[in-house]
Amino acid sequence: MSQKQEEENPAEETGEEKQDTQEKEGILPERAEEAKLKAKYPSLGQKPGGSDFLMKRLQKGQKYFDSGDYNMAKAKMKNKQLPSAGPDKNLVTGDHIPTPQDLPQRKSSLVTSKLAG
């Protein structure tokens, strides 16, 4: 529903919202910014800040790999391409199956810093 709204009125706010925003801008720029954000992402959690960010922060670096999933997917697609990474390599969900192509190449660690150049 909200998606549709965005397409129809990509840059406009409804009349009521606009008035509201203007009022709020006079009082609190932060609140106006919040209204903007909620307009763009209505499903954004009710809890301000909160555990979503924190959990994401704690899970930094996590790269799950399930060899069972990977091999099943490979078997299903044996005549097609290997399962590919998808746009967001950092997505930590069950849907995304990491592949050997995902893993960053082990970097050469012997290049001298340019600060020392």
């Binding site: 932060e30 919040e34 800040g49 970097k107 001298t112 810093s113």
Partner: protein, 451 residues
């Protein structure tokens, strides 16, 4: 400062001049070259940087040339080494970055220098030592190290030390590993010079510098049920004089001071520093922008400074209910929070630092701007780290951001700011007016004008 009104500053005003810049000129920045930490040692003679590629570069100030004292000595490369390498923890499916999060120097006890460097998981103690002579004239070895055939040895001689070109060697002396489940954000050396703390998102550990196979957990804020998690530890530091006292800051804008004499596990704070918030001002962004990205004690130990997204606050350790001073770093960003949230800039972690006498504090901002606040005169200045128009000994021109309305000449509008050019790390020489400012991949050194 170069005064706002254009007039010459008073006798105490500092005029900052460009001194040096280190790093590549080109705009195409390799990720490994992103500077992640900057730190002067206790004397200020050495300046260390760490980067995302796990490398440490140490610069040394050259001895002052007494005859031509245009400026204080320049900083030249002294040593560089690979401190950390990328790792993959197969057991936990965790990729461990080699990025150096923090470097802390130990005070010098003998000819060698020691520093601690840490990535997300492992802290290392590095010894940096000089070698300027080598033994020559062994009986049983050739000069290149190969052993001589003993039957060819017909005379005996005493090896002697001969001078050689200075070689600076860095060697890892201790590796403190496997004590952190979460990502290390801080290390801090105790004033006892024997122990240090390391802090991750949920725990703080106490180590002895000599002992690597054991560390004591002194703070643990992990909830029994992770779904109840509401805040994380963002920074921690030992008090500069009281070896039993340390502070840690949180993502909710609070600072807790703990006394290790009170109990082995310092989950209960001795003091809680928090500025009350007007609930009617609360928005979605309130908590995020209140998250403290850095906490630093003053050299005196009487005050501590915290940095949150928009401001720098000075707290008197004797007063918990509000800071004694608040300085706005870039208040004009408050009306840009929506886009700063969308591009993740709102999560940028800026650091802050004190000058040697605790009279001025400094922190970075966007567009390669950095800010200084004089606590006595209450004046502030915005300067830019840029290669343009920067000749040695020319005074830096103050910058001004125009928040709204008519932009004056030489001002820059908020919408023109480059949010990819962030100054997250700055350091102030412990004794002199020399500062090190890190842009994404360059290190700038500025000094005050010496007449």
């Amino acid at each position: 400062w170069v005064g706002r009104g254009g007039g010459a500053g008073g006798g105490n005003d500092i005029q900052w001049c460009f001194s040096q810049v280190k790093g590549a000129v080109d705009d195409d920045v390799a990720e490994a070259d992103i500077i992640s930490t900057v730190e002067f040692n206790h004397s200020g003679e050495l300046l260390a940087t760490g980067d995302k590629g796990g490398r440490v570069v140490i610069f040394q100030q050259e001895q002052e040339n007494k005859i031509q004292s245009h400026s204080r000595g320049e900083y030249n490369v002294y040593s560089t080494f690979q401190s950390h390498e990328p790792e993959f923890d197969y057991l936990k499916s965790l990729e461990i970055e080699e990025k150096i999060n923090k470097i802390r120097w130990l005070p010098q006890k003998n000819a060698a220098q020691f520093l601690l460097s840490t990535n997300d998981k492992t802290i290392k103690l590095w010894k940096i030592s000089e070698r300027d002579k080598r033994p020559e004239g062994y009986n049983l070895k050739e000069e290149d190290g190969r052993y001589r055939d003993p039957t060819t040895v017909t005379t005996l001689r005493v090896p002697v030390f001969r001078p050689m070109d200075l070689m600076v060697e860095a060697s890892p002396r201790r590796i403190f590993a496997n004590a952190h489940t979460y990502h290390i954000n801080s290390i801090s050396i105790n004033s006892d010079y024997e122990t240090y703390l390391s802090a991750d998102d949920l725990r703080i550990n106490l180590w002895h510098l000599e002992i690597t196979d054991r560390s004591f957990n002194i703070v643990d804020i992990k909830p029994a049920n992770m779904e109840e998690l509401t805040e994380v530890i963002t920074a921690a530091e030992f008090h500069p004089n009281s070896c039993n006292t340390f502070v840690y800051s949180s993502s909710k804008g609070t600072i807790r001071l703990c006394d290790m004499r009170a109990s082995a596990l310092c989950d209960r704070h001795s003091k809680l520093f928090e500025e009350p918030e007007d609930p009617s001002n609360r928005s979605f962004f309130s908590e995020i922008i209140s998250s403290i990205s850095d906490v630093k004690f003053s050299h005196s130990g009487r005050y501590m400074m915290t940095r949150d997204y928009l401001s720098v606050k000075i707290w008197d350790l004797n007063m918990e209910n509000r800071p004694v001073e608040t300085y706005q770093v870039h208040e004009y960003l408050r009306s840009k929070l929506c886009s700063l949230y969308e591009n993740d800039c709102i999560f940028d972690k800026f650091e802050c630092c004190w000058n040697g006498s605790d009279s001025v504090v400094m922190t970075g901002s966007y567009n390669n701007f950095f800010r200084m606040f004089d606590r006595n005169t209450k004046r502030d200045i915005t300067l830019e780290a840029s290669r343009e128009n920067n000749k040695p000994r020319t005074v830096l021109k103050p910058r001004k951001v125009c928040a709204s309305g008519k932009r004056k000449k030489d001002e820059i509008s908020v919408d023109s700011l480059d949010f990819n050019k962030k100054i997250l790390h700055t350091a102030w020489h412990p004794k002199e007016n020399i500062i090190a400012v890190a842009t994404t991949n360059n290190l700038y050194i500025f000094q005050d004008k010496v007449n």
